[in-house]
């Protein structure tokens, strides 16, 4: 023992890795780095694999932004493969949730009020995208350090979102005009409290409308509260996570894999509307089809229908359809910033609120609708004219067939239909919102489920006996790693919280539109 104790006194030092930090050793000087990671990872579900497996393989496809063209992947045919979703779910819970929790807890402990509020807003943002995939998820018990982590009902989660936003907004309000010490480490707003407040309120507005069909009173209260506290009204206040070479947009990794292409719906809508945003969203197809171009302008963007057969996927469809826009394509380039919440969406939400007769702050459904369109166009650098050179907002253009044989995806025009039915107006709002949200497909898919708009093409083929081609998955099944490692909790969630079998047909709590 003498030998042991005398010679091992430097063992603690030897067993310390000087190249990494330990969680216990983090302090205020390192706090901002954790926050930066939480913000950056938060929008991409941690890494490019999880972004691929959740965002690109599911929400991009079920929002009909993109069509899956890889013959070996069938999510576009409604195959809800748990193994693919594992990485998505795991990426969030190991790469995002712990960072956010740490950042929020640390701020609470150290009484960093501004940062506490920021992280509360961020918690709501990151979790609402996850619960909208599955419904019940581990939320309130996240980080319990136990071998079983219970799930929460989606209704409870949403209600907690509003409470959390109340807490955050209170803190932000009492710090108006101030800047967080995080500065540039806040890669969204550089620590600007006022902008965070607008984000918090706009997020509340988004969530309020989300629950419209499930709890109308809750929706109205929160929507009006959001407006009263001030939402994003200008693109200058847009919440975006800034890309950098080291924090590139994950599409700039994914697009090189050529797994997906522009959907036929996008072609039908953008081409019909002569939409100037087409070139910001997509690249010209390798081989374009001039025969389906409308009179007056060239439209080299080609989409393909969702739910292609494996046979068709092998017939070289990538070459005749559009990839994402060039900004998303260069591997190693930083790519576009990631949109969290933008002015256009805020206006479309207010338009829908106004349609319901809520107090959306001095504007009409029409004015909010048109402001939304304008905000989106200007966000993408457009002067408000469509590709044919006419004003976009007032154009009566309607979608057209995606090729010379096909019918248009819908009949909804751009110009506001003041005399149309409420549903028709809602369809207009959501159709424009669908365009404006691109590429935020989590939101687009959620809104599509909530409102059944926009009207989009059916799948060509469904391989899921539960879901016919004219329907879409309402959720994704719980993942394999949960059945492996958290079985008791996931089984309890299915039995008591989900309200149906664990498949793609069971609707989420807020998915209640008659």
């Amino acid at each position: 023992m003498i030998f042991g104790t005398s010679c091992t006194k430097d063992f603690n030092e030897i067993n310390t890795n000087t190249k990494v930090l330990t969680v216990d050793g983090l302090d205020q000087s390192s706090y901002g780095f954790v926050v930066k990671r939480a913000l950056y990872s938060g929008v991409y579900f941690d890494n490019s694999t999880s972004f691929l497996r959740g965002h690109a393989a599911f929400s991009d496809i079920y929002s009909n932004y993109q069509t899956h063209t890889h013959p070996d992947f069938y999510s576009d045919n409604f195959v809800l493969n748990g193994a693919w979703l594992d990485a998505f779910y795991g990426g969030f819970y190991t790469g995002v949730a712990p960072q956010v929790k740490y950042a929020e807890d640390y701020a609470v402990t150290n009484k960093y009020d501004i940062e506490n509020a920021m992280m509360k807003v961020w918690r709501v943002y990151v979790y609402h995208r996850i619960t909208d995939f599955w419904g019940p998820i581990p939320y309130s018990k996240f980080g319990n350090g136990e071998k079983t982590v219970p799930y929460d009902k989606q209704e409870d989660i949403y209600k907690d979102f509003f409470i959390t936003l109340d807490q955050a907004v209170a803190l932000l309000k009492s710090n108006r005009g101030k800047t967080s010490f995080l500065g540039a480490q806040d890669v969204m707003y550089a620590g600007n409290v006022d902008k965070w407040l607008k984000l918090a309120n706009t997020l509340r507005l988004r969530l309020a409308l989300r629950v419209k069909y499930a709890d109308a009173a809750l929706a109205k209260t929160n929507a009006e509260k959001a407006i009263a506290d001030g939402v994003i009204e200008s693109n200058a206040d847009n919440a975006t996570v800034k890309s950098a070479i080291a924090f590139a947009n994950k599409y700039n990794t994914l697009t090189a894999w050529s797994d997906f292409r522009m959907s036929a719906d996008m072609e039908s809508v953008l081409k019909g509307y002569a939409d100037p945003r087409a070139a910001k969203f997509f690249s010209a197809a390798g081989t374009s089809d001039p025969s389906d171009d409308p009179a007056g302008f060239t439209f080299n963007f080609e989409g393909i229908r969702n739910g292609q057969t494996k046979i068709a996927k092998q017939s070289g469809i990538n070459a005749v359809s559009s990839n994402m826009a060039p900004a998303y394509l260069t591997v190693g380039d930083k790519g576009p910033d990631w949109p969290v919440l933008r002015a256009a969406e805020a206006y479309f939400l207010r338009a829908e609120g106004a349609l319901e007769g809520w107090n959306m702050g001095g504007g009409s459904t029409k004015s909010f609708y048109e402001s939304g369109i304008s905000a989106s166009l200007s966000e993408h650098g457009s002067d408000g004219k469509n590709l044919a050179g006419n004003p976009y907002v007032s154009s009566t253009n309607v979608p057209v067939g995606y090729d010379s044989q096909s019918v248009p995806v819908s009949t909804i025009p751009v110009a506001f239909q003041a005399s149309a039915s409420k549903e028709r107006v809602l369809e207009q709002i959501i159709t424009q919102k669908w365009i404006a949200l691109y590429p935020d497909s989590e939101e687009a898919w959620a809104e599509r489920r909530r409102t059944n708009y926009p009207t989009l093409y059916d799948r060509i083929l469904s391989e899921n006996p539960d879901i016919p081609v004219n329907k879409i998955p309402r959720r994704v099944p719980f993942v394999g790693i949960e059945y492996n490692n958290n079985r008791t909790a996931v089984e309890a969630a299915v039995a008591t919280m989900l309200g149906g079998p664990d498949n793609g047909v069971t609707k989420l709590w807020w998915d209640k539109k008659p």
Binding site: T8, A97, S258
Partner: protein, 1140 residues
Amino acid sequence: MKLKILIKGVVCGYRNNNPAGLLKSKLVFIMNLTAVILTLSCLTVSAAGFAQKITLSERNAPLKTVLQEIRKQSGYQLVYNSDLIEKAKFVNINVQRVSLKDALTLSLANQPFTFQITENIILIKPINVSAPLKSETTAQRIEIRGKVSDTKGETLIGVSVIVKGTTNGTSTDVEGNFYINAPADAILIFKYIGFVTQEVPVNGQSTLDIRLREDMQSLSEVVVTALGIQRNKKSLSYAAQNITTSELTQARSTNLLEGLGGKVAGLTITNSGSGVGAASKVLLRGNRSISGSSQPLYIVDGITLNGDISNLSPDDIESLSVLKGANAAALYGSRANNGAIVVVTKSGKGATKGVTSNVGFTFNGNDPIILTKYQNQYGQGAGGVYSPSSVTSWGPKFDGSPVRHWSNDPNFITNQLGGSTTYAYNAQPDNIKDFFQLGRSFATNLSVNINSEKSNVALGYTHTDASGIIQGNNLGSHNLSMRMLSDLNKNLKLDSKINYIRQDFKNVLFSGESFNNPMRYLYQIPRNIRTSDLEHYEFANAAGQVKQHFYSPNFNGAGNPYWTRNNIENPLELERVLGMLSLSYKISENWSIQGRSALDRSNSMGETRLHNDTYVIAANGSYSRVNSNSFEWNTDALLTFSKDLSKNFKINLNAGANNRIYKANALGGSGANFQIQNLFSLANTLDPRPADTYERHKEVQSVYGFGDLSFKDAIFLNITGRNDWSSTLPSNNRSYFYPSVGLSAILTDLVELPKFFTYAKVRASYAEVGNDTDPYNLSRTASISNGTISLSSVLPNANLRPESTHSTELGLELRMLEGKLRFDATAYKTNTFDQLFASPVPVGSGVSSVFQNGADIQNKGFEASLGTSLFSERAFNWDIDLNFSKNKSTVLEIAEGFNQLSQASDYIRIYKLVKGQPFGDIYSRGYVRDAQGRVIVSSNGLPQITTGQDVQVANFNPDWLAGINNSFRYKNFSLSTLIDVRKGGSFISFTEAIESGVGVLDYTEQGRDGSLVFGGNIFTNETAVTQSGAANTINVSSERLWNHLGGVGAPVGESFVRDATNIRLREFVFGYQLPAELLSKTPFRSARFSLVGRNLFFLYNKSEYVDPEMVTDVANSSEGRESLSLPTTRSFGLSLNFGF
């Protein structure tokens, strides 16, 4: 060449001499206290005196010293003329437990002395040269040449050859050859320690090849055990097996470990199936570690390595012993719980004085064996429709009609196809085989021994030039070694060694589903694609960019394999230095001390270069580079005390201490988005990613003691104890002790057994081995990159305890009918507790896994070997050796609250440990079955598949393994064959899943018209029913079915489970040693050539399409899955060896 016993000696004839001669000399009587005591007892046991066992290990020692040692060990008095003895030549001797008579004979070999033993007195006297000899017959004298070897064909050095009844004699040289001039009717006596003396009538023959049989009574096989200590095998209380090193040099493989396959009971080798430079996995008695390695520890010249021995030159190896379990290796400490492989390198000890050298050449060819059967009826396309851009073979039937060519090179049609945009739609049966070449390796070895009075130096150089079956997969290696033993003075000895290894891999192949693995693309080539079109793998486009020539450009997960082979480069340079310095000092007769320090250092520099247009990420090319180095530095000291407590009791006690330092670090960089295409330099990237580094540092300090007590050289008790202090464990658990105890008894020396039993030994041992973990596992890390901090998702445990292995084994060794029948058996049980591993917890808990202690993995098994020598006579003999092993690994416990542990998962399976189940169960997606186990088929005729990978479908662990070795010898010819049998174990073939999904396999040919009925005419071993329970009669097409079951994205593992049972001809060696008379007029001392074949063919292979031994990777977690491996190879070689 194996040096059986390291001495060149001549056994002198002893005759009664006239004692009067002695009286003229000055007599010296030497006695000591022990001698006096023993004299009394010797008087009563003098008849047994000759059975006294002497152990001597002296190099260049004065004869006097040696004789004193013999006196001491025997307890006899010694009488000699000291003047004459002082002038005697120095003696080299190394014998274990030989008789007094033999010890004296060998000590006096080549000396002008003989000896006489009377009562308890040894009398050393000069040979009376004038003594009358028995007159020779008048028969004509002839020259007789020959060679002496043991029954296994190992040449024996220093065998004395005496003409009976004369003092005319010689001894065999280092090649086992002898030359003697004797009457044509003489009788030659061949005598050698440890072997039965043979008398052979000359009968006028001028060549005599003699095979000596081991004397089982004095079984003296030496095994190198812990800390480099040589021990007589009979004293061991655990299973150990030696490998004949000539087998490793003749049937040479570029990876030394591959050569061990099938030769040792309980040892399994699996290869990672990725060509030259691929790693091998070695398992002794099964898997036991959850998170770490289950592979054995490697020890070279007493020093533990920081890796394995795969890149050592077989030419440098003198002996290789396999210590099979924890019991054998308890003293090596922590890492030996999986057993140990102990290597002794050549030191030149025992070679002829002066300079001798040896040069050897080995050529090996490796021929790919494509086991997979492909269909040749249908080509490129889908749904029966031809498509030139399709990656599948679900197109129309071949009819030779012109179809559109796929080329994406605008000039290809003009330049290569003569302007025709079409080509004939025909099967290309060889388009996969064409990709491979004959792999070749050429090894040249030069070894030189320089032996002088006080030192031996062995120099070795081996150069290997190897090319794999994939063009460009080449290796150039240089292996330079020097070992020197020298006597600094009478009691102080120096042993030093330096070994430099350099390996230059031109292109290490990627494995498995890696996009950089050319097999991924090769195995899916549509059946109509012509090799000649694909061989044109690149072209420059109008912008001057190099582009891939491929039928489905930019397809994610497909590509032209020729492009991958040529334009994805993965060179690796490895350097390794092994150095050792050891000093041993004999303090007194009983005490000695040894100090030793050794280093194993490796550097590597690896690059990965992806040329522009590599799908799907290389924009102008991408590049990564990692430089790493690691070393392990062991310093130890060992104090030894040995004493004969009495005539029957001997004791040997050792105490030692070891300090082990391990450090590793790496520096890497990567970048893509090049400015200049295909300039592979970090400076050329537009997005240099931050350098990635890692550091590892750990230290383990140990003290240990071990002792042997023997009774009558027939009962042996071994006890060891070791305490380690590891820097990787928390301070309160840092120190851990583990003991072992073993007992063995030679029954034949203790009790009267039937004469049938020549030798019988039983042994039993119990051992515990403690183990630590990797560094930095005590606190949760937060890593910094790109100006952010991310928290580790592993929650460490600040209260880790050392892990522990408890192992018990029992063994029996029998030699019957004078050794013509041999039997060896071991039964063992090992439990590994408190393993240190990360277990997955729900990710919602805040981390994905928790590092902790837990588990109880049990291995129970049985190993046996049976050997027989059918004709052990001179000219012809035939040995048959069988070995058999059976191991069962069971997961008794995982950890509290954990009934299962997923170790690894991929698209086709999860590798899991499940409580109460065998180690390493494979789970995959499987068929949905009804209560009766019938497969439920949907209305579309396709079986319903579970959504998750939750059906247990396979386990790779074999039921049992066996090897059958036959060796034949006739005169200078030898032939040996090794047949290797594996029974049981199963795996999933991801290759078949992928290949069936694209319709290239032969069995996808059936039912293209839509006539398949699951459970009817396909998968006939399954009973299938519809959802209503009626027998399934629904027709489905081949394309629909195999797309449903196969493919890369979510294949049904259950459909591709294969049985790993196989029987193969593992090795075939034919050797010829040129007779001495042929060589007498050449500069060569010896010449041998051999023809070698390895893995020649399967006698039986149940899995049919792949070789179950070719796995994807060597990690535990890769078990049970074959994924896009290279084809297995048969190799044949020629080796030539010349001695000078």
